[in-house]
């Protein structure tokens, strides 16, 4: 399974990715995008993700995004995958801080949505973002809508902070692609990953 975007491509993590995943998990800025990773057993967490990925019945699925040089750049984490409601909670994060300045963020995000709506054939993708995480909110506003705010829902560094709920339906995402085909996502569309959705 390889899904190619503009700069990145998605694949399932391999055992050789465990050290870099553990390294990423140690970074608080990376972790704040992934609510699942809270404890300090980072290497074990990376192994857990691989084990969960090995089961087709899993409710959690992790995918690595690598650049054209095969360097791991970021992670897509699908949680609470619900086959009855056909929805999933999606989190994504760029690994190394240096890479967060590049254009990898939108590419990773759109790849995540493309995989959810085409490969997994889901109806809806939703997610939670800390109110304090400006870059994640900006990224989610790229294609999704704000569904609400859960006030002071999470304790982080001794403070209760708001959680912003984002979501996008498959039909809304297709409309977004069509409306912006000659605008901000024109380059992404040329990769062909959305052809199936826009047909």
């Amino acid at each position: 399974m390889v899904l190619k975007g503009l700069f990145l491509q998605l694949r399932k993590p391999e055992i050789g990715d465990v050290p870099i995943l553990a390294e990423w998990f140690q970074d608080p800025e990376f972790r704040q995008n992934l609510f699942e990773v809270q404890d300090e057993k980072y290497e074990k967490k990376a192994f857990d993700l691989l084990n969960q990925n090995a089961k087709d019945s899993t409710q959690t699925l992790a995918l690595i995004a690598e650049n054209t040089g095969r360097e791991p750049i970021g992670l897509i984490l699908y949680q609470n995958l619900n086959w009855r409601n056909r929805n999933v909670e999606m989190n994504n994060a760029i690994g190394h801080p240096d890479h967060r300045q590049h254009l990898y963020g939108p590419d990773l995000y759109l790849l995540g949505l493309a995989y959810a709506f085409t490969t997994l054939n889901l109806h809806k993708v939703f997610g939670y973002t800390y109110h304090t995480n400006a870059s994640a909110k900006k990224l989610n506003n790229f294609a999704a809508k704000t569904s609400g705010v859960l006030p002071k829902h999470i304790l982080q560094n001794g403070n209760y902070i708001d959680l912003v709920v984002f979501s996008v339906l498959k039909s809304e995402f297709v409309s977004f692609l069509r409306e912006n085909r000659q605008g901000k996502i024109e380059k992404f569309l040329k990769t062909g990953i959305f052809e199936e959705l826009m047909a």
Binding site: N82, W83, R84, N85, R86, N87, H123, K124, F126, S147, G148, V149, L150, P151, K152, H153, I154, L155, Y160, V165, S167, L169
Partner: protein, 163 residues
């Protein structure tokens, strides 16, 4: 009262009324629902469960089931799931207020939240009385009866007090 104080007959009543209906999603947040065996196992060994169940009894009849899920003990956030036969019932509202007050006692800044379907207007009226506010609308979030239905998230502010 806690479920482990229910008689076998009452457990079967609770199961039939609240656990094997389309509406049960609100209570269980489960894709496939519960079997009676699963419910009985959970009642027998509540320590293994993340959930606390309570039944509301009126003159010997169980009129509601409430489930408290300690989803996030660090953040002191508790999900409340309510299913009831008599929506907006004063007895249920009073019992819920007491339960919320008891759980938050000694736990400063406790927060409760719950999910309801938009058409559950009487339940929402009761939530307003219990100091809940609507916080989010999850559109087309649950697949019930062949259709995607919206789900609303309602929650309380931290430091809320119940008499």
């Amino acid at each position: 009262m806690a479920f482990d104080h229910l008689s076998n007959e009452q457990i079967i009543t609770v199961f039939n009324r609240f656990f094997c209906t389309d509406h049960a999603y609100a209570l269980l947040a489960s894709m496939h629902g519960y079997s009676l065996t699963e419910l009985q196992t959970e009642i027998k060994d509540p320590k293994k469960s993340k959930h606390d169940f309570a039944a509301v009894e009126d003159s010997g009849d169980v009129i509601a089931a409430i489930r408290f899920e300690r989803h996030d003990p660090v953040s002191k956030t508790v999900r409340v799931m309510i299913d009831h036969q008599v929506p907006g019932d004063d007895l249920l509202a009073a019992i819920l207020a007491r339960q919320l007050g008891e759980i938050s006692q000694g736990g400063e800044k406790m927060r409760f939240y719950t999910c309801v379907f938009p058409q559950e207007t009487q339940t929402k009226d009761m939530l307003v009385r219990l100091k809940f506010h609507q916080e989010a609308l999850l559109d087309e979030h649950v697949f019930v009866g062949g259709n995607y239905q919206d789900l609303e998230i309602w929650g309380t502010k931290r430091n809320e007090r119940w008499c």
